[in-house]
């Protein structure tokens, strides 16, 4: 489903080159629920933005759903984002000027879907996240957990092949976070492929497989001593 081989991402300024990802390799199979963990600045978010075609990469190859996306133009990348990928952001990223229904509708409109089908999908997605009765509410009228559920409904409505979640519970309290996590697990059980970036070892533990990134590379935890330090620090932060 998602395969990156020797992928690199370099940020260049006049004086310095910074490798956000270096010789990065990952292979996520269809139907997998993968948690990507790692300390701050390790390259987790860079990996997710490249995986979601939100930005380009410098070297290597990336196949998404068996399609080489290395050299696609902006319009083709927009189309793939719209049709194959569902995003769940840490900050929910709902559009404050639109109500719940219209927010979920945004990606479907860009797909050029007819109104009756859009409505059916929107209501189906909202029912799935338990917010069908809030369709006419605006984001500001919802709790953080409810907003994240709307964001999940928005991601689900388009039936994406891949769901990318960036710290989906990062802005939520424990109870709301648990609800969102259960929802993601339920979506996974229904067959979705999910890649979730998280700081939270507890959340990561609930995923099917964990991938750990340190200094822009996927590392094998058992063999890399850097992980033990970083993991201990991250775990300490969560407990603290």
């Amino acid at each position: 489903m998602l395969k990156m081989t020797h992928l690199s991402k370099v940020y260049r300024t006049e004086v310095v080159e910074t490798y956000a990802l270096r010789d990065f390799n990952i292979d996520v199979k269809e139907g997998e629920f993968v948690a990507v963990t790692g300390p701050s600045g390790s390259g987790k978010t860079t990996f997710l933005t490249i995986a979601g075609l939100l930005e380009t990469f410098t070297g290597g190859t990336y196949h998404l759903d068996n399609l080489d996306v290395s050299n696609l133009d902006d319009n083709a990348r927009s189309k793939i984002r719209n049709e194959k990928i569902g995003f769940i952001f840490q900050a929910f990223n709902l559009i404050p000027d639109l109500n719940v229904f219209d927010n979920v509708e945004v990606p479907l409109r860009y797909r050029g879907m007819k109104a009756p089908e859009r409505k059916e999908r929107i209501m189906g997605a909202l029912e799935r996240v338990g917010l069908a009765s809030r369709a006419k509410h605006y984001p500001a009228e919802l709790s953080g957990g409810q907003q994240q559920r709307v964001a999940i409904a928005r991601a689900l409505a388009g039936s994406p092949r891949l769901l990318l979640a960036d710290e989906p519970t990062g802005n939520l309290d424990t109870q709301m976070a648990r609800g969102v996590m259960e929802l993601l697990e339920e979506i996974h059980r229904d067959g979705a492929t999910i890649v979730m970036v998280t700081h939270d070892p507890e959340l990561a533990a609930r995923a099917q497989r964990n991938v750990h990134i340190i200094d822009g590379q996927v590392v094998d935890l058992a063999e890399d001593p850097r992980f033990h330090t970083a993991y201990a620090a991250a775990a300490g932060q969560v407990r603290g």
Binding site: T49, L54, K79, R81, E83, I95, N99, P107
Partner: protein, 410 residues
């Protein structure tokens, strides 16, 4: 582009939306009416006078002393003889006024002697049998004055002309079926005045807006008028001789009789200068209104650019989210263009009402004509294009917001 979500978003930004729509409405109302006034003024400036403009000049002659009627008539005859001797002069006539002079003589016209309300108003030219020739006017019907018809009159003597040559607009106003020749009218006279000739165009002396309803309505009566203080000579030259004759004419008059004053600046005017001076206020008004229109349009465009730029800045993250969810550059560009179009449409809808309201007020208060629909349609097109043009740059900036913006902290 679906407009429902754009309308939904606009409802959440009422203040900015209403302000811009109101600005567009006011601009439409003012620009449409101003353009109409400008067009009317420019049309008047370009109206044909009916005279041979390229070869005519006018002399304003003031005597050094007040003459009796008889003395004035004699002086006039001497002056006319002197002017006819000037090289290049083709014809000359004395007159109480000339087309586009500004102000001047006019008479209320009736079709019956006891009529209480006038049928119309005509500019009143007094001239001799040389009048038409000196102005280069061509008859389209009837005949010129015969020398024996020309009367000599002092300023305060009763003038009872029995015949007149009229302009076609006056003839048509009095006799709309085109049968004015040989018919008569009353020009504040007890005896009827018979129409013996019709010229196509002879513009009025007055150019004020009050005379717009009587545009082009003029009459010429065969009277050689002796005004005690002086008067006008209308001189027509042979082609190409105007400048030389204009220089020579006052010298010839001074040589004939030094007891007179011909102003060195305003005493001898080419007809081109007469026309230029007649419409100086119209030209000034047209320029002023053009500037007002340009400034208004610029302010409206700046308002649109400002508001859209502000909205683009404010919604940068939102645009990033839309891009992340699949919007292309074109989708974002078209979102902002459509948003502006909707605001502009609301603005012009209100603006149409304001435009006609303002026109109604101008019509009742300043005798302006009713605004033709084409001006409103033209104004709508201008405002919509202005809006689309103004919003394009900020919309293009918005379309370039990368999808990665969705992941940046708020």
């Amino acid at each position: 582009m679906d407009i429902q979500p754009i309308l939904a978003a606009l409802r959440r930004h009422k203040a900015g939306t209403i302000l811009i729509a109101l600005q567009i409405a006011l601009t439409l109302a003012i620009v449409c009416n101003a353009l109409f006034i400008i067009h009317q003024r420019l049309s008047r400036m370009n109206e044909p006078s009916g005279v041979d403009e390229a070869n005519i000049f006018v002399i304003q002659n003031l005597w050094g002393e007040q003459y009796s009627t008889q003395e004035a008539l004699e002086r006039i005859q001497e002056d006319l003889a002197a002017l006819r001797q000037v090289p290049g002069v083709q014809d000359v006539t004395p007159s109480n006024q000339y087309p586009f002079k500004g102000g001047g003589w006019d008479n209320l016209i009736t079709l019956k002697p006891d009529q209480r309300t006038e049928t119309t108003d005509a500019s009143y030219f007094a001239g001799d049998e040389h009048f038409l020739g000196a102005l280069g006017e061509k008859l389209i019907a009837g005949r010129d004055f015969r020398p024996d018809e020309v009367q000599s009159r002092g300023l305060r003597e009763k003038m009872n002309p029995s015949v007149a040559i009229v302009s076609k607009p006056l003839a048509d106003k009095l006799y709309p079926h085109g049968d004015a020749l040989g018919k008569s009218f009353y020009a504040m006279t007890s005896a009827p005045v018979t129409i013996v000739g019709i010229v196509d165009v002879l513009q009025r002396s007055d150019v004020g807006t009050w005379s717009v309803p009587y545009a082009g309505e003029s009459m010429v009566v065969p009277i050689r008028m002796a005004m005690p203080w002086g008067g006008y000579y209308i001189v027509r030259t042979k082609p190409g001789q105007l400048t030389a004759a204009m220089r020579a004419a006052p010298k010839a008059l001074y040589a004939e009789n030094r007891m007179r004053m011909i102003d060195s600046k305003d005493g001898v005017l080419s007809f081109a200068e007469v026309r230029h001076r007649a419409f100086e206020r119209d030209r000034g008004m047209a320029i002023l209104m053009s500037i007002i229109c340009a400034v208004l349009l610029a302010i409206t465009a700046a308002g649109i650019v400002g508001l859209t730029s502000f909205w683009v800045g404010q919604r940068r993250r939102q645009i990033g989210v839309r891009r992340a969810l699949g919007a292309t550059h074109r989708d974002i560009l078209s979102y902002f263009m459509t948003e502006n179009l909707l605001i502009s449409l609301a603005g012009v809808a209100l603006g149409v009402l304001l435009t006609f309201g303002l026109n109604l007020w101008l019509v009742t208060r300043f005798t302006l004509s009713v605004l033709p629909l084409t001006y409103v349609l033209g104004g709508i097109v201008i405002l919509l294009l202005l809006g689309q043009g103004a919003v394009f740059a900020p919309a293009l900036r918005a379309s370039r917001v990368p999808p990665i913006e969705a992941t940046r902290p708020a």
